[in-house]
Symmetry: C2
Subunit: 371 residues, 2 copies
Amino acid sequence: MAMAFHFHPLAATRVHLSPLPFAAAAAAGAPSPSSSSVAIAAPHHHHGRRRFSAVVATAAASAAATTEFDFKAYMGERAVAVNRALDAAIPAGEPPAALHDAMRYALLAGGKRVRPALCLAACAVVGGPEAWAMPAAAAVEMVHTMSLVHDDLPCMDDDDLRRGKPTCHVVYGEPIAVLAGDALLSLSFHHMASVGSYPPDVDPEKHPARVVRAIGELARCIGSEGLVAGQVVDLEMTGTSEPVPLERLEYIHLHKTAALLEASVVIGAIIGGGTDEQIERLRKYARSIGLLFQVVDDILDVTKSSEELGKTAGKDLASDKTTYPKLLGLEKSREFAEKLLSDAIEQLDCFDKEKAAPLLHLANYIAHRQN
Amino acid sequence: MAMAFHFHPLAATRVHLSPLPFAAAAAAGAPSPSSSSVAIAAPHHHHGRRRFSAVVATAAASAAATTEFDFKAYMGERAVAVNRALDAAIPAGEPPAALHDAMRYALLAGGKRVRPALCLAACAVVGGPEAWAMPAAAAVEMVHTMSLVHDDLPCMDDDDLRRGKPTCHVVYGEPIAVLAGDALLSLSFHHMASVGSYPPDVDPEKHPARVVRAIGELARCIGSEGLVAGQVVDLEMTGTSEPVPLERLEYIHLHKTAALLEASVVIGAIIGGGTDEQIERLRKYARSIGLLFQVVDDILDVTKSSEELGKTAGKDLASDKTTYPKLLGLEKSREFAEKLLSDAIEQLDCFDKEKAAPLLHLANYIAHRQN
């Protein structure tokens, strides 16, 4: 089968990207979010102060309906479970020790496990037991880590610091870093394909077809339709003196960041037994928060110090990289983030409010995180 | 699930590796193969001149029973079909163009498509339509190409020439070569998982479970139990002044070469609907030809010129790399190759002779190839 570009994210979200809506929103007196007051534990706090549109009103109502939801505890419990799965997936000290050490170093370096949480939450929102999605949740984190390890390489972004620690190639050398990335990538598929990764209560009739479909989604978001494509275009843009058009910037973010967030959500919904309609709703949710994630990343790079971020801050500006704040200004970038957030939350309307609470809070968290 | 080392190739083949059997065979007057007289079109020609053991007599009988088989035509037809599938799998000229060009450059650089042929032949020998295994055949070639592209990188083996052409990073630069490898790896899984890759006559009930199992086999042979593990240990050995023990050398070959050949055969048999017993027979066949492949590679590196090989010859010796000829001598290495060949052919006894002809001839070809 020809690998046509099935994923047309530009078409799907172009409507948000004209500068006009932001200007209109600003003229209408929409306040800029003062997101600094919002912590992980209270990601919906901000909603009370918004006077946006009907869409945002819906979001605010959803948030109000789930005030009891303890997002911090939810994320903490998932991170512990995911870390346990990741730890068990790679043998410590077994030969080749350098390879396994490097894989574990990169994979178990901390991080909030946002992608696995999205995967587990998407499985739950369609009614699947969360445990069914744990192998997929571990797999998306392996893929994410692999992309970080390769993007940090000297021949790529040449980054020395990641999550506050020296990057994989700094510790283990360049050849092992390349190979650890390759091994993490193949391990993600091995982990998803292995019968032994799943609890015994999966439906023996339906499970294999769901796994095949989920593996297809995961594979698609990595290569020339996903992470790798984004990195290629990002490298092409770096260091050029020409101004980078907004479409180009969006292409990079949708591929480098949004594609894997989308896959995380969609895979969870597939494994959980979601209907095609549910899966496509969640895909739209994920595309909005995917772009949102990167817009917020760009904003944080401008407004935060390296210490707060755990990575080299201001690097995008220093290397003359195009970012949303540079293209739109800080305030308009924040407004754009709010619009993406409300678009995402709108997609959750058709789900049970209680079951949708984690996805709602994850979207708010991605919008208002501080690092 | 912990990724324990399920694959214990050393245990499976250690019996062949003591120097004693070769010495005994030589004392018994076993002739050294004069493989230079054997062309692709007549890979079984050699058998008439052997006076080995009962095992070899069986092999010779199998070969005699399939004298009519046109191996050259068989391989030519498969290569054409596989190249067509590979060509269709990667869009030419579509963005990101540099990435797709690099992937196509590495993937469509020629080569005999031995791994895809093994995959298709294994599907056929268990009674499956060959067309069912074409996506898997394309996938194993993508994985093989990916490993070549990454192994050739400046930070790894630093090779400038591959299949007679400049290597991927020489033409497209190091970052694109790393990313093209990543994209080929993910594409292999995408291709295997996509419903659109398969003909419509696959069994809708059994097919998904077979694909999941096949993907698990493919994924396992790449990472820390396969190609990557072999490359890590290979890198550790390169340039050390200490003598490399035979067990270490075997580990490298079993992981760098045999693992993917094994997966190619096993995946074909799984997709074709082979029984567990058939699959394990074919796994043993593949392990023997896998090690055989590398022993022959080492022999060719000593005996052939760069022009004949299409890559830098004598490189292993020049870089002080341990090889079979260096450890055992050229004659004993050739005898070892013959032993592995007869072990492989023995595993085909339980299959229909006509259906097994391609696998028989592939084993002979791998033993007697000239480049």
